[in-house]
């Protein structure tokens, strides 16, 4: 099990130090894949490099299976080459002066294993990543996907205690990325490797991870399973960053039995209160476009449903679904609907939203979003 405790990492550039990771803490159980997700510059790569030992943190503790590899309090810093962590870099860092075999054999050679043993282990791992046909190939003559698999093989061959992946799929084209993501997941699950994965791509994070930590401005904002992160964001930033969402500003009127009623531009909305929501607090409601159901006639209202009436002001046909822009009062709500819905622009339409899908998020949680502007412009943010 990997545990990172109260990790701070700063860059000592001239002037004020850049606070790259601040009070980062999480645990990764053995055999699980843990993802650090966030926009560029959020400190996720710094955190990963601190775990690798390539960056020296300012303070904190990093422990793996009971072995401290970094502790500011005890003055421990194990050099990266003594940590036995496998790592796949964003650029893959394939050594151009070695061929496929030599690249993979390197970690074993520096550990002074026998020739025979090296050969067996290298072939085994190359077979696992389906590169065993290209053993003698110059490493520079590999395609992007092959390079990625080679980098992975090199990280795996030393049977690492921990596997670190730094945006390993970001240099591949879309189709290949999907396939490699699938491969990566299969290998990780089969070998049950404890893995830390860094990405800015929410789809990768959602598809691969056992658990995700969403990071912003050097801090971990929320840790949870992919489903929890997506369905119950605790923070405006998380709701906004992971997936598309409608954000509707409002004020909490009543709060009872795991539901709250939010007075908003859509009227009174029954919603699921996130942690920290209290009566009369300013909140934003996050509702995913795919959870906004559209009906041409007035729908049957269930016990826990919110229904309101609007006008279709825009439609985009996207193949497997359609984006509808529905204007309610001053607000534009984005809804994803099946392409069979053909309501023309200008026609009235009904919106139906389950209360459990409407998550009320306290606005003050996020230091940079003051409540005033949200309430003032009172429009719904349409993301991406």
């Amino acid at each position: 099990m990997l545990s990172v405790r109260a990790l701070f990492t700063e860059y000592g550039t001239k002037g004020a130090p850049v606070k790259a990771a601040q009070n980062v803490a999480f645990e990764v159980p053995r055999g699980k894949l843990f993802t650090l997700l966030g926009p560029s510059g959020c400190g996720k790569t710094t955190t990963l490099r601190s775990i690798a030992g390539l960056e020296k943190p300012t303070s904190g503790e990093i422990e793996i299976d009971g072995r401290l590899v970094y502790s500011s309090a005890k003055g421990i810093f194990v050099a990266p080459n003594k940590r036995n962590f496998g790592m796949v870099f964003q650029s893959y860092a394939i050594w151009p002066h070695m061929n496929v075999f030599q690249n993979v054999a390197f970690p074993l050679e520096v550990r002074r294993l026998g020739k025979k043993q090296i050969r067996d282990k290298v072939m085994q791992v190359l077979h696992a990543v389906a590169l065993d046909e290209l053993v003698e190939r110059d490493a520079t003559k590999l395609s992007g996907g092959q390079q990625q698999r080679l980098a992975l093989a090199r990280a795996l061959v030393m049977e690492p205690q921990l596997l670190l992946l730094d945006e390993p799929l970001s240099n591949l084209d879309a189709k290949l990325r999907d396939r490699m993501r699938f491969e990566l997941k299969r290998l990780q699950r089969e070998l049950s490797l404890t893995t830390v994965y860094v990405t800015h791509d929410q789809n990768e994070a959602l598809a691969l991870s056992h658990e995700i930590a969403v990071m912003n401005e050097g801090k971990v904002v929320q840790i949870g399973t992919p489903r929890a992160i997506y369905e119950r964001p605790r923070d405006r930033f998380v709701a906004d960053f992971v997936g598309d969402t409608n954000l509707i500003a409002g004020t909490v009127g009543a709060l009872a039995d795991g539901r709250c009623v939010v007075r908003s531009a859509l009227g009174d909305i029954s919603a699921l209160p996130a942690e920290g929501v209290s009566k009369d607090a300013d909140v934003v409601i996050s509702i995913r476009p795919e959870d906004v159901e559209l009906c041409e006639g007035e729908p049957q209202r269930g016990n826990d449903d919110n229904v309101c009436r609007g006008t279709v002001t825009g439609r985009d046909f996207l193949g497997d679904y359609m984006d509808f822009h529905v204007t309610v009062g001053d607000l534009v709500v984005l809804a994803k609907a099946h392409p069979s819905l053909r309501t023309p622009t200008g026609d009235p339409i009904y919106l139906k939203m389950k209360a459990e899908k409407c998550v009320a998020i306290p606005v003050s949680r996020h230091p940079h979003s003051k409540p005033a502007p949200v309430a003032a412009d009172a429009t719904v943010r349409l993301n991406k």
Partner: protein, 577 residues
């Protein structure tokens, strides 16, 4: 997890002296010793009176008094500046024009231009100067003789022994360097800036004048400063052309002060400090300029070649200019050396002389008693200097480029400091240093080795740093993550990846070491002569034909080395691409 592979962690607090730390420490100490210590001794010596058997030296300001307030002082300073700026301007004008023709126009036979880059490498300054004496001296100059014969007059048409002659030879010799500097500037320019001017309706000349040259302006000023520094440092031309007719500049005055009896090391040091100040100002201004110039940074990184301008019929003129230039800078000097090497006594070409052609002079040179020893000395020095420099600068540039060590900028600056040392000044400083600190290397090859390593360390740094910058940091980090120690990473990953740069740099340093004259001339003793010193001595003895034979052989040898370097560079260039 396999128990074979999981390494037991070191006890975390065990004090350890890592190899990395030791190597870094050694390099810093070595570089500081090489670059700083001679400088200190030079300064110290400049405040001392000459030491004789009866009188011990004492501290004095007389040297500076002599260096600054004698009647000749103003003349010396003005001569130096006139010579240096004249040469730099001539070189820059030639270089810029040629670079523009080569990079921006459709002048025919452009491929030949690239041969230019190697001229200053394969024809050492001393040979270039000597060949121009043979061409344009008032008495024996072939051009004078030919013109006099043609016009039936006795007038001296060209006199190489003059300020104009000095500027001509030195400017010509540095023009290929200006060509390379300006070519780089033109290449890094975004061609769309010029194409935009063409689209806006500007003619070819308007574009060249108002856009191309304006954009190249910072590069031109920077190149001018570099050329100025080079010219004010140059020793061969002022010594061979200026001294005989009493035109003194700083370098030749330093040489004279040492070679008169009793030698005035203090005065020479005072001159050297002054010269050092001038070159430092030049280099400093140049580096400031190149920092500021980043707002002109026009590197786009896009791989397309700029559109060349169609010169129409004018391209025959530019081709002619180019061919004339090629004749003047390569063909004439080389041919005159070949001609004189085939004679028994130096004489102008004629049918009579043609019948006397023989290879005697080559035989004489090869039979020269110290010839074998001299060539051996040159080879040993060249190879060992190149090896030492490339290894040392590989580690230093790794420290500078890769580590976050405090004070690494200082290390970088100290390693580049020898750039401001004129060869003669460095020779003087090292001479003073090891005469004072007697560790038994004065008068051996070691002292020349130290001089060469110091003088050419900046070149090694340049080759290695640029190669190091191209190696992605993650290539090293992934070696560390694979469990490799620092020395293992350096040996197995960094050095192999540096190999193309290392090889090219190695051969380059070898070549400049073989040509080195200005430092060697103050440091050699009987038995430690090198080839360039032998040429110098042959000139002093008036053995022109033997000198020519040796010169021709040296040029051919250097040419082969350059070819080898380019071949290697190309092969590894492709393999790494």
């Amino acid at each position: 997890m396999s128990d074979v592979l999981v390494m037991a962690p070191r006890p975390a607090f065990a004090p350890r002296l890592e190899l990395k730390t030791v190597v870094i420490g050694l390099c810093v100490a070595l570089v500081a010793w090489l670059a700083l210590v001679p400088l200190v001794f030079l300064l110290w010596q400049s405040f001392l009176t000459p030491q004789t058997a009866s009188v011990a030296s004492r501290y004095t300001l007389e040297n500076y008094w002599a260096a600054y307030f004698r009647s000749e002082t103003a003349e010396l300073f003005l001569n130096s500046v006139e010579f240096a700026s004249g040469s730099a301007l001539l070189a820059l004008i030639l270089g810029t024009g040629l670079a523009w023709m080569n990079e921006r126009t459709n002048t025919p036979c452009k491929a030949l231009f690239f041969a230019l880059a190697i001229i200053p490498l394969v024809i050492p300054g001393v040979l270039f100067t000597v060949s121009w004496i043979m061409l344009a001296s008032p008495k024996i100059g072939l051009i004078n003789l030919a013109l006099q014969k043609l016009l039936h007059r006795d007038t001296v048409f060209l006199d190489i022994y003059s300020m104009a002659g000095m500027i001509w030879v030195d400017g010509l010799h540095y023009s290929p360097m200006a060509f390379l500097l300006m070519t780089a500037a033109f290449r890094s320019m975004d061609p769309s800036l010029e194409e935009q001017a063409a689209m806006s309706g500007a003619s070819m000349l308007q574009t060249a004048r108002r856009i191309t040259l304006k954009l190249a302006w910072p590069a031109a000023v920077g190149s001018l400063l570099i050329l100025f520094v080079r010219a004010i440092e140059s020793f061969e031309v002022p010594a061979l052309l200026g001294l005989p007719v009493g035109i003194h500049v700083y370098t030749s005055s330093i040489y004279q002060a040492i070679h008169q009896y009793p030698s005035e090391v203090g005065l020479a040091s005072a001159y050297a400090v002054t010269l050092l100040l001038l070159t430092s100002i030049g280099i400093y201004a140049q580096s400031r300029l190149s920092q500021q110039g980043s707002r002109y940074a026009t590197v786009t990184g896009k791989g397309f070649r700029p559109r060349t301008i169609d010169l129409g019929r004018w391209r025959y003129l530019t081709a002619a200019i180019f061919i004339v230039y090629f004749i003047v800078i390569v063909l004439l000097p080389f041919l005159v050396l070949v001609w004189s090497s085939l004679q028994r006594f130096y004489s102008a070409p004629s049918w009579q002389a043609l019948r006397r052609v023989s290879l005697d002079s080559y035989r004489a040179v090869l039979d020269y008693p110290q010839f074998g020893q001299t060539v051996w000395n040159s080879m040993v020095l060249a190879v060992s200097t190149a090896a030492a420099i490339m290894l040392l600068s590989a580690v230093i540039s790794w420290i500078v480029v890769r580590t976050k060590l405090r004070g690494r900028w200082l290390l970088d600056n100290i390693a580049s400091l020898p750039l401001v040392f004129p060869g003669l000044v460095l020779g003087l400083a090292i001479m003073v240093c090891y005469l004072t600190v007697d560790i038994g290397i004065y008068g051996t090859l070691w002292i020349m080795f130290i001089a060469y390593v110091t003088r050419f360390l900046p070149y090694g740094m340049r080759y290695n740093s640029s190669a190091m910058l191209q190696i992605h940091k993650e290539l090293e980090e992934s070696a560390a993550m694979s469990g490799a120690s620092w020395s293992m990473t350096f040996r197995r990953v960094i050095l192999p990846l540096l190999k193309p740069g290392l090889l090219a740099g190695f051969i380059y340093v070898m070549i400049v070491s073989i040509r080195e004259l200005a430092s060697s001339i103050l440091l050699y003793s009987p038995g430690t002569e090198v080839v360039s010193i032998m040429i110098w001595e042959l000139w002093q003895n008036g053995q022109y034909v033997e000198l020519s034979a040796l010169g021709v052989m040296l040029i051919i040898a250097l040419f082969c080395l350059v070819l080898l370097a380019q071949l290697l560079g190309r092969r590894f260039g492709i393999a790494e691409a």
